[in-house]
Each structure stands twice: as C-alpha cells, then as structure tokens.
C-alpha cells in the first residue's frame, strides 16, 4: 500500500473548497493500492501526531486556498516545520502534488504560490510531483453536489484525471491551470451578488459594503 496523506490547508476545514478538491482526487487513487488519509492543517499549531503521519507518507497531496497571492500564513508554519524534520530524516522522502484554488477567475494567479511550494520542496529535499492552480474557487460552494467531470467541472475533471494518473505512475508533470466551465463575466456577477446577499443576511445595508474605516490613532 502506498501511504498517501491528503493535507487540507484551508482554515475552513471540512466545509472548504480545498476539502472538496481533495475528495475528488481521493476518488482517483485506487483504494486497493493507496492508503488515503485526510489531515487538516487549519491552524498554525503543529500537531506531532499529524507531523508523524506526514513524515511516514510516500505521497503528499496538499490543497489550500490562495491568500494574498501566496500560501496562508498558518500553512507557512507547517511548511517550515516540515522542512526542519524532513531535513533530519534520512530515509525516503515523499513526492508532493499540490492543488491551490483562488477566488479570482484566472487559475494562473496561483502560479507564484506553486513556485513557493516548489522552492519549499527544494529546501526540504522532497520530490516535486505536479501542481494545479484552480480558478473561480468561489464556485465550489455553489456546486458542492456536482460530480467532478460534470458541468461546470468538466475541464477540472480532465485536469484532475491527468494529475491522478501521474500520481499512480509516480511521475512528475507540468503544472496545470484550470477554471470552471463558465465565462468570467458570469463568475463576476455571481460573486458580487453573493456578497450583497451575505451583507443583507448579516443585517447590514448594501452601502455598508463600501464602508471606509477612519484611522484612529492609539
């Protein structure tokens, strides 16, 4: 059995797009060959048990949301600790496959973050497998019950199948960038509508969305 750790770096945990993406990937790894275990890295607190499980895995599948063009801060702490312990470990080190979703439509906006992960692999002595950038991450909550490969996740389904194949063959691949199958303008309209619905749900006025906070000096 190939021990595979599915690491969810979203602070939203089980309710996150990252978890949905990992669930999709899990289905592509035959359970007869892969021991697939999910771990949540939702806080910066390093759990030694989780750390031990990651260290003993042969494949790391990491998913998290793009935060300010980069890795969420709590995940950086995990990466630094993993670099430290992997550097001490002399036995075989896992291959890393990463999936980064962003709230912007263009999946390409995750490119720098995948490079940050690649640099981490270099420092930690890990083998970079493949990265995937996923655009329009806000669509995942709306289409929570849509199977991968069906609209609007047809292109994404194809990309995930390709990555899944690379994982099962234990080979590296070029990074993939994919967005759901609807136009950018439709995503923009849907996202902006969702913010207005949320602000009204929270008992505020639509104009509050534009609020500017005056700076009060301490």
């Amino acid at each position: 059995m190939i021990k595979t750790a599915l690491l969810n770096g979203s602070p939203r945990g089980e309710r996150s797009a990252s978890r949905m993406i990992l669930d999709f990937m899990e289905e592509l790894l035959p359970k007869e060959q892969y021991e697939r275990r999910h771990f949540s890295l939702k806080t910066p607190n390093i759990d030694p048990t989780v750390l031990g499980e990651i260290l003993s895995s042969q494949v790391l599948l990491i998913a998290f949301p793009l935060y300010v063009d980069g890795v969420p801060s709590h995940m950086i702490r995990w990466l630094m600790e993993l670099e430290r312990v992997f550097s001490l470990q002399v036995k075989s080190r896992p291959s890393v496959y990463a999936l980064v979703n962003c709230g912007f439509y263009e999946a390409d906006q995750t490119r720098v973050t995948l490079d940050i992960l690649r640099n981490w692999c270099e420092r930690a002595g890990l083998k970079w497998g493949q990265g995937m950038g996923i655009g329009a991450g806000g669509a995942f909550s709306t289409f929570r019950n849509t199977p991968m490969g069906k609209w609007p996740f047809r292109d994404l389904g194809g990309a995930m199948t390709a990555m899944g194949l690379n994982i099962t063959k234990q080979v590296s691949g070029t990074d993939l960038f994919v967005s759901p199958d609807f136009p950018r303008v439709a995503y923009k309209v849907a996202v902006e509508y969702s913010w207005r619905r949320a602000i009204k749900h929270n008992g505020l006025k639509l104009r509050d969305l534009h609020r500017r906070i005056p700076l009060v000096r301490p």
Binding site: V68, G70, P72, S73, M80, V112, I116, N119, L215
Partner: protein, 177 residues
Amino acid sequence: MILLIHDLGAEEAKRLESTYATETVVVSDDGTIRHCVGCFGCWTKDPGSCVIKDKYSDMGALLGACTQLHIVSRCVYGGFSPFVKNVLDRSISYVHPDLRMREGQTHHRLRYDRPFRISVWFYGEGITENERETALRLLKANSINMGCPLDGVRFVESTVNLNGEGVVSDQNCIAQW
C-alpha cells in the same frame, strides 16, 4: 504616514524602528496575532475591519491611511515569513470584495482612493536564485492586487545595516521595478 511591518526580534526591531521618523506606525510580532480563518467577515459582517478583534484587526484602515508601506521580512521559500504573511492575510479589508479588471485579470476593487507605495526588504542567508525570482513575481502580484506601485525590493543577508531613512532614500540599493 509610513506603515512599517516587520518580523524582527526585540533588539533588531528597536534599532530599526529608532531610524524611522515619528510619522511611522510599526506593526511587529508580539506573539499574539491570530490567523485569518477565511470567514470574509471583514467584507460582510464588519466591512473594513477584521472580525477577529485583536491589535491587528484594523490593518485595512492602516493601509488605507498610509502613504508608504515598508515591509521587512525573512524570505521564506520566496515569500514572506509567517508573521508578515499573517498580517497581510489579516489585511484584506483594505480591498473591496467586488471584482475589477486590472492588467487583464480579475482583482479586487479598491476600498480606499489613495494608493500607497511599497518597499520590501527580504532578509536571510542563502536566499536562492529561484527564491529571489519567486519573491519578485510575488511582489509584482501584490502590487497589482492592492493597486499600489512597488518602489522596490532589496535582498539582504542580514538586517544589521537596515536603516529606515537610509533605505528609503538609497535608491541605488533598491532594485527598481
């Protein structure tokens, strides 16, 4: 006003901060910062402020009020250190949740009218070429996303010689974008 965000230890911080003029607000690591939980409350519950009420909850307003943003951060894999990134993650109330096109891609609409200028000093021993290249592209992305021009970035092995006024004026030391 200059907003200085850094991750330096107490001694180095004291020395660096002493080189800045009084019109500077310093955001530093006192060990109490909490991480962004992705709730979007800073857009839909208390727009403009982070709903995690600690001393870092008004970062959006601080960015909206400053004319220059100075960041001093350890370079970690071509990105910011956990503390500096934490501050930036907690700063997204600076932008508006709506989307706008900038440089051919969707980015957030800006909440405040007046953009600040950004200068960054990445420090650390043995920063690799790949990390430098990644860091430069990261800063360009940040600059576009926040709608703020990047004055420059400088990579240094040590923070010993950093000097607030000196680095601001010493354009030769800053790689012009």
